[in-house]
C-alpha cells in the first residue's frame, strides 16, 4: 500500500532523485511565495496533471492521485468557499493540490531506495554531530517495510474482536500493541543475525 513507485523508463524515471526532490522543494517554495490568480492556479493544476502522462505514467496513476485528494478538495475548498471567497478557495486549494500532484509524480517515478539515498546524503553532515547516517537510513526503510505488516496486524485484531463480539473501547488496541512489540523483538533479532547491527 505504501510503495507508490511505478516502474518505467520515462524522463522523470531516469532523472536523479536528488534533482527531482530539489525541484519539488523549489516549486513548493515558489507556489507559497508567488501569488497566482485563478487562471494561474488552473494552469499550474493542468501542468502538474500533464506531468503524469508526460513522464510515461499510466492514466490510472493520475486518476488515483486525484481520487486520493477528493476529500481535501471538497473539505478545504468548500470551507474556504463558505468562509472567504470562491476565488480564494480556488487559489488556496489549487496550490495545495498542485503541490500534492507534483509530489505524487516524484513519488511514482522514484524508487524509495533512491529517495532514501538522497536522505542519507542529506544527513551526512550530521556525522559531525556524532550521528551515524547508516542506521538512520536503515530505520527509515525498515519503517516502510513494516507499515503493511502492522496494518496486517490491525486487520487481524479487528477481525478477532468482531468475531468475539467484544466492545472494548480503548483496550481494543492492546493486542495490536502486543503483536507489534513482539514483532519488533523478532525484527531486532533478524537485524542482529543478518549482521546489520550489533
Amino acid at each position: 500500500m505504501i510503495s507508490l513507485y511505478r516502474p518505467g523508463t520515462g524522463v522523470l524515471h531516469r532523472m536523479p532523485a536528488g534533482v527531482k526532490l530539489a525541484a519539488l522543494a523549489t516549486c513548493a517554495l515558489a507556489l507559497s511565495l508567488v501569488p497566482l490568480g485563478v487562471a494561474g492556479t488552473a494552469a499550474t493544476l493542468i501542468a502538474a496533471s500533464a506531468l503524469h502522462p508526460l513522464s510515461g505514467l499510466p492514466l490510472a496513476t493520475l486518476l488515483e492521485a486525484w481520487w486520493r485528494l477528493r476529500w481535501l478538495v471538497v473539505v478545504l475548498g468548500g470551507a474556504l468557499w463558505l468562509f472567504t471567497s470562491p476565488a480564494q478557495a480556488m487559489t488556496s486549494t489549487g496550490r495545495v493540490v498542485t503541490l500534492l500532484l507534483l509530489a505524487s509524480v516524484v513519488t511514482a517515478t522514484t524508487r524509495t531506495g533512491a529517495i532514501l539515498d538522497v536522505l542519507t546524503r542529506a544527513l551526512a553532515p550530521l556525522r559531525r554531530l556524532g550521528v551515524d547516517p547508516g542506521p538512520v537510513a536503515l530505520t527509515v526503510s525498515l519503517t516502510i517495510a513494516m507499515v503493511p505488516v502492522v496494518a496486517g496486524f490491525a486487520d487481524q485484531v479487528r477481525d478477532a474482536q468482531r468475531a468475539r463480539g467484544a466492545r472494548l473501547g480503548p483496550r481494543a488496541a492492546l493486542p495490536l500493541l502486543v503483536l507489534t512489540m513482539r514483532h519488533a523483538d523478532d525484527v531486532g533479532d533478524a537485524i542482529v543475525a543478518r549482521g546489520i547491527a550489533r
Binding site: F153, Q156, V157, D159, A160, Q161, R162, A163, R164, G165, A166, L168, R171, A172, L174, P175, V178, L179, R182
Partner: protein
C-alpha cells in the same frame, strides 16, 4: 485428561445442536478491489466435523470468514444455520465461535483470567469469577490464570484462545489453522479438543492427518471448491495435485 472431560462438560451445557454445521452456499462469489478471492462456490455442509484443505492462497480463510460475516459476499447466497450473514450478522457472530491461527491477535486482555472473564461478561460478577476458575482448570491453565499472556507458551495461548471462544457456548465453531504454530503434542491436544466438541466444527488445516479424522473434507483450489466428500479420497486427490 481434560479433553474427555470437555466433551461431557460441554454436552451438559450445550443447547440441542442442529445435528451438523448446516451451511449452504449457492454460487457464491467474493471479490475485493477487482481481485476474485472466491468464485462460483456451491456447497452444502451438514457433517458434524468438516475439514477444509488446499494450497496457500486457494481461498480457505476467505471461505471461513464468510461463515460469521467477517467477509461479505459479492454475489450468490449463503445461509449458516438458517441465518443470512448479511442480515443477521450480530446474531450469527454470537452463535459462531471463531478460532484464528495466531492466538495473540485473539487474546484481548493482559492475563488469561481477564480474557475468559471478557467472554463471560454477560454473567453476574460473582458467578463469573467462579466460572473463570472452572474454565482455567478445565483447560489446564489453572496456574497461568494471572500471568502475562506473553509468558504463555504457544500451545497454552492457543488453548486459551479456544477456551475463550468455547466459553460462550457457540452453536458452530470455525477454526482457521489453529494448530499451525504448535508442536506434535500440542497440535494433537488442540486437534483432539476440537474434534471432541459437541458443537459442529469447520476446521481449516494444512495438517492432513487431522483432516483425515473429520467426517467430511472440502478441497479448495484457485478460489473454488475442487472437490468435497469422503476424507480419504479428497485428501488423496490433494496429495496427487501437489506432487
Amino acid at each position: 485428561m481434560h479433553v474427555s472431560r470437555t466433551r461431557s462438560e460441554r454436552a451438559s451445557r450445550a443447547e440441542a445442536t442442529t445435528g451438523g454445521a448446516a451451511i449452504a452456499l449457492d454460487r457464491v462469489r467474493v471479490a475485493v478491489d477487482g481481485a476474485v478471492l472466491l468464485r462460483d462456490v456451491s456447497l452444502e455442509l451438514s457433517a458434524p466435523r468438516t475439514a477444509v484443505i488446499g494450497a496457500n492462497g486457494s481461498g480457505k480463510s476467505t471461505f471461513a470468514r464468510l461463515l460469521n460475516g467477517l467477509r461479505p459476499i459479492t454475489s450468490g447466497r449463503i445461509r449458516v444455520q438458517g441465518l443470512d450473514p448479511r442480515r443477521d450478522c450480530a446474531e450469527l457472530r454470537r452463535r459462531v465461535g471463531f478460532v484464528f491461527t495466531n492466538p495473540e491477535a485473539q487474546i484481548l486482555m493482559p492475563t488469561p483470567a481477564e480474557d475468559l472473564a471478557l467472554s463471560l461478561r454477560d454473567l453476574p460478577r460473582h458467578v463469573r469469577a467462579e466460572q473463570v476458575r472452572t474454565l482455567l482448570e478445565l483447560y489446564g491453565l489453572a496456574e497461568q490464570g494471572d500471568v502475562p499472556v506473553s509468558a504463555l507458551s504457544g500451545g497454552q495461548r492457543q488453548l486459551l484462545a479456544i477456551a475463550a471462544v468455547l466459553a460462550t457456548g457457540p452453536a458452530l465453531v470455525v477454526a482457521d489453522e489453529p494448530t499451525t504454530l504448535l508442536d506434535l503434542r500440542n497440535s494433537r491436544r488442540i486437534g483432539d479438543l476440537l474434534l471432541s466438541l459437541e458443537s459442529p466444527l469447520v476446521l481449516v488445516t494444512h495438517d492432513l492427518e487431522l483432516a483425515a479424522r473429520c467426517d467430511e473434507v472440502v478441497l479448495f483450489e484457485n478460489g473454488t471448491v475442487r472437490s468435497a466428500g469422503d476424507p480419504a479420497s479428497v485428501i488423496d486427490e490433494y496429495r496427487r495435485s501437489c506432487a
